[in-house]
Symmetry: C2
Subunit: 411 residues, 2 copies
């Protein structure tokens, strides 16, 4: 018999480990593989032969893993380039050396590109019995070919919960104290996360990348809101930008390794505009920062369950030798009234390098939030809170595998 490797890549989420837990559990239910190896730090660690053996994980460890945020195997930003054949050859050799038939890669659209290109390489070179399977995750919800990306719903639930509770906080002082509260969310190109704050039903102004920032209109709307009720609750995506593409946070933009701008500061930039314009003399900015992708104590139960099952599904489908270059996807059922999903498989290259935006038709005019249709799409996703296993008042957490000694002897 053969083995499999699971690795994780890209920015972490609150439920990415649930998919890993699903793959491990599936192999205990049906041991298609002798060993489930965890690749440390994504494809980068695979290339360095850094593995842990996850095959015998106990049920308790599995439950703890599901509630542990971020990537327990570590992540990477390393991207396989199609013209760098050396990396491809090396991965094939390592898979042969460890007798690995299947590589499961949990990640966003860059990772789906890795899955597609490895699969192509193997096919092109007549390499048999090597399967590459993608498991989607991204809090940004900007993946194509899937109803919603695992990780989005938990981030959305945390954002909406935070918005609701901060709204209680910002309103406590008398009407004589006029105040704007600005909540900044992640979302470089897509406004899904910022839009999810509208689930709380308290957002006055929503600024997302899908709708060009219009300073004059935004300030007018804030002014009208302050005049009407003395407080204004604004939500802004980090990627909010002007018609010419300049980020609202432009002053602070730098570049990361992928050529994406590293953002942060759209909220602060808007605060300055508000103070400078005299629209309101008191403004507070809260940037949710890392919390929105790692506050797993408030996972959506729907999200963590689906992520776990996606791992099960990926493992089960890998029994088919021809199942490669695929991503396991989630489709919302339309044949029943209640919310339910089915798991499907699509070609990984149909996901790689595409971005799915928040639909413009779901945005209300003048930055006033989102339509009922948008809320109907998001509402079922955030339902339910899992029973988090606590210890001394804090959530139990998996000690990251990348911090443990390598448990597999190099062959």
């Amino acid at each position: 018999m053969a083995n499999c490797i699971v690795a994780q890549s890209g920015g972490p989420s609150s439920v990415i480990n649930a998919t890993l837990a699903g793959i491990i559990k599936a192999n205990q239910l049906n041991p298609l593989y002798d060993h489930v190896y965890g690749g440390i730090n994504g494809i980068e660690g695979v290339l360095q032969e850094r593995f842990v053996d996850l095959t015998k994980m106990t049920e308790h460890e599995n439950l703890i893993l599901r509630q542990t945020p971020s990537s327990a195997l570590g992540s990477c930003r390393y991207k396989l380039k199609r013209d760098n054949l050396e990396d491809f050859e090396k991965i094939m050799k390592i898979m042969e050396k460890y007798n690995v038939e299947t590589l499961f890669y949990i990640g966003g659209n860059d990772s789906m590109d890795t899955v597609a290109s490895l699969s192509e390489y193997a096919k092109r070179n007549g390499i048999k019995n090597r399967r590459f399977i993608g498991c989607p995750k991204t809090i940004d919800n900007d993946l194509e070919q899937i109803d919603h990306a695992p990780g989005f719903a938990s981030a959305a639930k945390f954002i909406a919960t935070t918005a609701l509770q901060c709204w209680q906080d910002v309103n406590v002082y008398p009407a004589s104290r006029k105040e704007v509260f600005i909540l900044e969310t992640m979302g470089r190109d897509a406004g899904w996360l910022a839009a999810s704050a509208c689930l709380s039903n308290i957002v006055d102004i929503l600024i997302v990348p899908e709708k060009n920032f219009d300073k004059e209109t935004v300030l007018e709307e804030i002014k009208a809101c302050i005049e009407a009720k003395s407080k204004c609750f604004v939500v802004i995506s980090e990627g909010a930008h002007y018609p010419d593409g300049t980020y609202v946070s432009a002053g602070e933009a730098r570049n990361d390794l992928f050529g994406h701008a590293v953002l942060g500061g759209a909220g602060k930039a808007l605060e300055e505009m508000i103070l400078d314009s005299g629209v309101c003399a008191r403004c507070k900015v809260m940037d949710l920062s890392s919390s929105q992708r790692c506050h797993a104590t408030e996972q959506s139960r729907v999200d963590v369950t689906e992520s776990f099952r996606l791992g099960l599904s990926a493992h089960m489908r890998s029994a088919d030798p021809s199942f490669t270059g695929k991503m396991v996807s989630i489709r919302r059922r339309t044949d029943v009234d209640e919310y339910d999903v089915e798991f499907t498989a699509i070609d990984a290259d149909k996901v790689a390098n595409f971005v799915r935006n928040f639909p413009e038709k779901w945005l209300l005019p003048n930055f006033r939030g989102v339509t009922e249709e948008a809320l109907d799409y998001m509402r079922p996703l955030i339902k339910g809170t899992p029973d988090i296993i606590m210890k001394d008042g804090l959530p139990e957490q998996t000690v990251p595998f990348y911090m443990r000694d390598c448990e597999i002897e190099k062959l």
Copy 2:
């Protein structure tokens, strides 16, 4: 029979409404008062005769109130000044007009000063049957004469939970990516909140107001940490300051109405020092901002239970006509091994205008965190998570009373 008023003041917390819920519930168990009136926006609203009638609140409403963060009655920053006799006279007249015997005031040390001064005024002027009773709250835990202030434990639990989960997030990339994560907490004069992050057991560097900021030592410690394990987790209080009292965040300090500096930005200032000094080229700052005082979905069960019972206790004690100018306090039992508390009463003027600092002897040298003794003090406080009542994936919340129509006809 007579009535009572409850009002809330100062910065909100995750459990200040639980004390209000306790007072309302106690009056249903033993109707000492015909009506429990809620005063809107603290003493400011009392002076304006803005009341709601809370007497008949249902059990479900009471449960929802306990899990609703911030001050459901609204808050104020208005401070009674002892030489402003007009305000005192007016309050006594309003109490007479509404047949109010007891004013419960839930707040921090400024509010205890209000309780003490109103009580003194009534005594000095021979006004009978007017009682003023303080119920403590503050996330800062800087109140004297109490083992811990209601509100602190829930903030501490949220901070430690967030630290633990962000630590998982910051560590995922390979050791080649060196990174400092800075978590900024509230705490103007006292370091309790920042110190509570150490409950997560992952804090490398802790900077609190009780220990003068020493740039050289802090940067050296961060450097050593980065060299040892490539990541460094720093927690800093907003009120961190140099030996001469200058705030680390000095560039951004302004003044609020009470003459306290409005802070924010200690983390950003430290980030600049780290980047400028070359100690690390990658740094991320997360300011917990309002979340730490209003993220009630993760209340400590100990905290919310004690806050509720403190309200019960205050109401029950008010049956004694001589019980005035008092604050109901919490004392930790030393006669049993398990964690338990008893409720006591102390003079409100012993609390007013004092600040209790985090003990210096509980700080490890070189900003390396806190001692086991400090952890032993904090650990029992954050235990247990209440069963939050959810609706469509979000916590059910009380519609703030200050947003409702005034329910009491002016007499």
